[in-house]
Structure formats: C-alpha cells, structure tokens
C-alpha cells in the first residue's frame, strides 16, 4: 500500500504542477481553446484518476504486490543507464567509433563480467562493423569526434 501512496502522490504532484503550467499558457484565445486548454483537461483527468486510485487503495488496503526491488536488480539498471547517458554526452566529443567501443566494452566488463580479451575484442568488432555499416555504407553522418582529428 505504501507503494500505491507514493505513486498516487507522484501523479497528483505532477498533474498539479502541469495544470498550473497549462493554465499559464492560456486556456482560451477569443472564443477558441488556447494552447493550455487540452493539457489542462488532461492534467485534471490524471489528477482525478490518481486521486480515485489513492482513495481506493487506502480504503481497501491492498496487499504488497511485488517485492521491493533489491540491489542486485537495480545495480545493473543503474550501470546500463549511466553508460548510455555518458555515451550521449561524449558522443560529440569522442565520436561514434570510440564511444561505441567504450560503451560495449563497459557493458561487457562490468555487467556481463567477461574477461578482458573477450570484452575488448567483442567491443572492437562491434564498433568497427557498426562504423563501417552506418558511417561508411549508409553515410548516416554519425559524429566523428576524435576521428575527425585523425583523418
């Protein structure tokens, strides 16, 4: 039930904040719905549903559905997400080839826990083939980064 309260609270806060924003956008221009009109209705709808669920779950006191997530499950998720975020930020600096290599190597070493040989060779293989396929063959204009300095 604690979970339902947190979720319900989240939706209520979010919809409240967004409804204020929508209102600021203007609910009507002349005799027509303004930019904020439909978002406002949506936020009200969300708030009502969230409130309804919250009240219901407090009244019924539903049992715990799943177990709380433990560290073993959350840790790889955090790593994967952190890896991707770093990739996104470094992409324009290091370029596609190197970033891909680093990302795949990171995943293989940290999450899959393979040895260095497998990690580095697989990462290199993936980076090179995808570079050849997307950059050279398809000319996808992926960022060159460091590669631009070398060539």
């Amino acid at each position: 039930m604690k979970r339902e309260i947190i979720i319900g609270g989240f939706w209520l806060l979010l919809s409240f904040y967004l409804s204020v924003e929508s209102y600021r956008l203007g609910l009507s221009t002349g005799n027509r719905p303004g930019p904020g009109f439909f978002p406002f209705i949506a936020t009200i709808g969300i708030a009502l549903i969230a409130a309804g669920r919250l009240i219901n779950s407090i009244r019924k006191g539903s049992p715990e559905e799943n177990s709380e997530p433990d560290l073993g499950e959350v840790r790889p998720v955090v790593y994967v997400v952190a890896g991707m975020i770093t990739y996104a930020f470094l992409l324009n600096f290091l370029g596609f080839l190197f970033c891909t290599f680093l990302l795949v190597a990171f995943y293989l070493k940290v999450i899959a826990a393979r040895n260095w040989l497998v990690t580095l060779s697989f990462a290199a293989a993936v980076a090179l083939t995808s570079h050849l396929f997307f950059d050279v063959l398809l000319k996808a204009e992926l960022p060159r980064g460091l590669l631009g300095w070398l060539i």
Binding site: R3, I7, W11, L18, E21, L25, G26, T29, G30, N31, R32, P33, G34, P35, G36, F38, P39, A42, T43, G45, I46, I49, A50, G52, R53, N56, E65, N66, P69, G72, E73, P76, V77, V80, V81, M84, I85, Y87, A88, F89, L91, N92, T100, L103, V104, Y107, L108, I111, A112, R114, F122, V126, S130, F134, L138, K139, A140, E141, L142
Partner: protein, 501 residues
C-alpha cells in the same frame, strides 16, 4: 479488364533485371531497417537520398517503396521475439506476439505475421490499382471536423486495448497526449512545456519515446532475469498449425480491409491502423480474455493492417500529389528530384512509373515472403546468443536509431529517459501501449478540434452539422456507451466496476 492489364504490364516492367535488383535491395534494406529498433523507413530513405541524383528513376523509386513496406515485415520480428518493436507500427504486435514467443510459439507467430503482411500488402495493391482515384477524392472530404470525429472514435479503441484496469490505461493515454503537447504549439506558435530547453522545441518525438519505452526498458527489465541465459531454450515448432491458419483467416481479412481504408485517409499514421485492427479483433472475439496471452488474432490482424495501410497510404500521394507524412514527403522529394511532378495528373502523365511501382510492390511482397520465412529459423538462432552479448547491440541500435531521427543527441537522451520511465512502468504495472495511443492520437485530436473551432469561429455545432464528422462523433459515442447499453442492469454494472477497482 483494363486495370488488370495495366497492372500486369507494370509487373512486367518491374520484373526487368535492373528493377528487380533495386527492388530486392529495397525490400532487404527495408526488412533490416524494420528489424532494427529506431531506424525507420524514413531514416533509411533519407540516407539514400544522395543516390537519387544518380540512379535511374523507376528503379530508384522501386527501391524506396520496397523499403517502406519491407520495414512493415521486419518490424514484427523483434516485436515477437524480444518484445521490442522495430517500428512504432509494430508496437501492438508485441502484446500477443511476444506472449506467443514465450509459449514457444515464436515460429507460428512470425509465420502468420509474414503471411498476413503478404496478404494485406498484395490485396491493398489491387485496392490501390482499382480504387486510388475514388478514394483520393473521398479523402479530400476530411477536413478538421471530420478528423476530430475520427480521432475521437479512435480514442474509444482505447477501451478495447487495455488489459489491466481501465483507469490506469486512461491515465496513461492522458499522460501520452500531455507529452505530445511538449514543443511548439501548432496553432499559436507558443512553446509549451519546453522550459527553455532548445531540443524540446520540436517536441518529444515518437521514435525515441517508443524505442525507450519498449526497447530500452525491456532490456533493463531483463538484465537480471536473463543473466547469461539463452533467451529461449526450445522452439516447439517453426510453422503455424492448421488451427492457427483457421483462426487467422478472418482477422487477416478484417485487418486488410480496415488497414486499407484507414491508411487511405490522408495524414493517418499506420500505427493507428494497427491499434484499430487489434481493437476490432478483441471486440469481436468470443473470448476477449485470450488477448494479451498469445491470441494469434492479435498478431494476424495488426500485422496485416499495417501492410495494407502502408500500401494505401500512397493513395493521396500518387493520386493527388499530396504527401501526408514523413515517408511520403521523402518519396515526394525523390519524385521531384527526378523531375516527376506528383499531382492529380500523375497517373495519366507517368503511367509507366505508377504502374511500374505498383507492379514492383506485388513482386516485392512475393520477395519478402520468400525472404522472411526462411529467416525465421535464422532469427531464432540469433536468440540463442547469450543475452549479455545481445543487449549491448540492442541498446546500440536503439541509440543510433534515436540519434538519426534529427541528428542530435537530444533524442538519445529522450530515449534513455523513457527507457527508465518504461522500466518503472513495467515494475509498477502500468501499460505503455495506451500511452503510445495517447501520444499519437492526442495531438491529432487536439489540432483537429482547435482548427475546427477556428473554422467555425467558436461554434461547436460544426462537428454535428457536417455529415462525415457527425457520423464519426455518433460512432464514438456509441462505442463509449455500448458496453453499458449491453447490460440490462445499468446501475449494477457501475457498482460492479467500482467494486473491482
């Protein structure tokens, strides 16, 4: 008949060695692009544009068209096998398709998907050949009020898509439409919810959201569960059973018809056709509770519909010269590059192109089914690769797909954010599908209503005074009320529903 004769000639033209080669490349590339999450036909066509300046016109066009419907074939593969849609139009296939895969029935699912795609695509081509001009004319009657009615009717499909509690699904749909309003307001030019972040000015794109919500989140959820495991240990059978064929026959028929007509409406995303087809199947079914647990109709109908819709989606462009979406705009550009002016006289002035393209689509569909069926065995083998090697690739392709949407890392960040959101949703049992529905239909409904109000200077009557609009409004209301009307004891029904929740 004359049309048949022209079509036959078109097939012959398309069967020339050069055109066949380009056609084959097109469908192959299309399948590949469809399988890779994120990279869509629009992206692939955009990448091939420089080639347009050098390639022979008909062959080049055949290739481009091949990419578009090839992608509809490929998109279902990853949806079924790993619950990650290759295209937004394959989102719905994930539901029952992946459930079937979990039951060891990936083969039949893929088979029926391929076969349905073939039927849908081929029949749609005949539909285009015979009906294109008439349908195009009809499509012109759809102004903003008609769209509003149609979109409202489409939203009622929501009722039949949710598995879990209705209120959660509605919440997701509202959230989706809220998300879609981020960015530049299409009517007034004001920026909504952009918080001065530049990349948000274009809004939250459908592609990065879908890749994140379905693809990335699926990987995140599976990280521990699949640790080192092979995805699937046994595949029971590779081909659909007789019962499967029997069950799929009508859904395929319905999917074709629904997909064909919905696709012909200018501006309607193929995604909507898939949602509609699924909703219809679920509503008509005698055992709707099977849906979501591996009902083959839930694969057959949407997959057929998306191929039919992507075919008929060409009608506005080919008959009137009006591009209605990103892919059609690209093809429009490609036609212009070759000095072919698509327009009302296109079919008359360039018959060899029109019929050649149609003929190539028939050949293309045949090529695709020949290509895809044996590939099923291959895909299943790919799944035997340990997940730890597979998931970096899945994520990488997702990143590339997101990046190439607009050449910017912002879309990658959006994808990651929605990956986390999707992960949380999966943990807390919120469904992503209604959110996609809201994301796609929400803005369409909103702009349609707002434009209608501009047209009518604020009078709501416009929705009921115009025949087509009134029809859809009425139909929407009917859909909303029908479950209530079906029960005799109305009050009892409502109390029941409240008690459930």
């Amino acid at each position: 008949m004359d049309t048949l004769h022209l079509l036959a000639q078109g097939i012959l033209t398309a069967a020339s060695p050069l055109n066949l080669l380009y056609g084959f490349l097109g469908v192959l590339l299309g399948t590949l692009v469809g399988v890779l999450p994120g990279l869509g036909p629009a992206g692939a066509i955009a990448l091939l544009l420089p080639l347009a300046l050098h390639a022979p016109p008909l062959a080049y066009l055949i290739m481009l068209f091949g990419i578009t419907y090839g992608a509809q074939y490929g998109g279902s593969t990853t949806s079924i096998l790993v619950n990650i849609p290759g295209e937004a139009s394959s989102v719905i296939t994930c539901i029952d398709g992946h459930a079937m895969a979990r039951q060891g029935r990936a083969g039949p699912a893929l088979g029926i998907a391929a076969f349905g795609s073939f039927i849908g695509g081929t029949l749609a081509i005949f539909g285009v050949a015979y009906l294109a001009p008439a349908l195009a004319e009809f499509g012109l009657h759809f102004g903003p009020p008609e769209y509003a009615g149609l979109m409202l009717f489409g939203l009622t499909a929501l009722v039949y898509l949710a598995h879990g509690p209705m209120d959660k699904a509605l919440l997701m749909a509202l959230f989706g439409s809220l998300l879609a309003s981020v960015g530049l307001d299409p009517v007034t030019g004001q920026q909504r919810f952009t918080f001065d972040i530049l990349v948000l000015r274009d809004g939250v794109g459908l592609t990065p959201v879908v890749i994140g919500l379905f693809g990335v989140s699926e990987v995140l959820v599976n990280l521990r569960a699949r640790a080192g495991e092979v995805f699937q240990k046994t595949i029971e059978r590779l081909l659909p059973t007789l019962q499967d064929w029997k069950d799929s026959a009508l859904p395929i028929t319905r999917g074709t018809i629904l997909g064909f007509f919905l696709g012909a409406i200018p501006g309607l995303n193929v995604v909507v056709a898939t949602f509609a087809a699924y909703a219809v199947e679920k509503k008509i079914s005698r055992h709707p509770e099977r849906f979501g647990r591996g009902a083959i109709e839930g694969v057959a109908a949407p997959e057929t519909a998306n191929n039919a819709a992507s075919c008929s989606g060409w009608i506005p462009l080919l008959s009137l010269g009006l591009p209605t979406g990103s892919v059609t705009s690209l093809i429009f550009g490609a036609l212009l590059i070759h000095g072919l002016a698509p327009g009302p006289l296109f079919i008359k002035n360039s018959p060899e192109i029109f019929w050649g393209v149609l003929g190539s689509m028939i050949i293309g569909n045949v090529l695709l089914i020949i290509l895809n069926l044996p590939l099923i065995g291959l895909w299943i083998k790919v799944l035997r690769v340990p997940y730890f090697f597979l998931f970096p690739l899945i994520l990488l392709f997702g990143i590339i797909g997101a990046y190439t949407t607009s050449g910017n890392t912002g879309d990658v960040v959006i994808m990651i954010i929605f990956g986390v959101v999707g992960y949380l949703m999966k943990r807390f049992a919120y469904e992503p599908t209604p959110m996609v529905l809201g994301l796609v239909i929400g803005p369409l409904l909103e702009t349609a209503i707002r434009r209608s109000m501009i047209m009518s200077k604020g009078h709501i009557g416009i929705f009921f005074q115009r025949p087509i609009a009134a029809f859809f409004m009425g139909a929407a209301l009917l859909m909303l009320l029908s479950p209530l009307l079906a029960r005799r004891r109305l009050g009892h029904e409502i109390i029941e529903k409240l008690g459930e929740q």
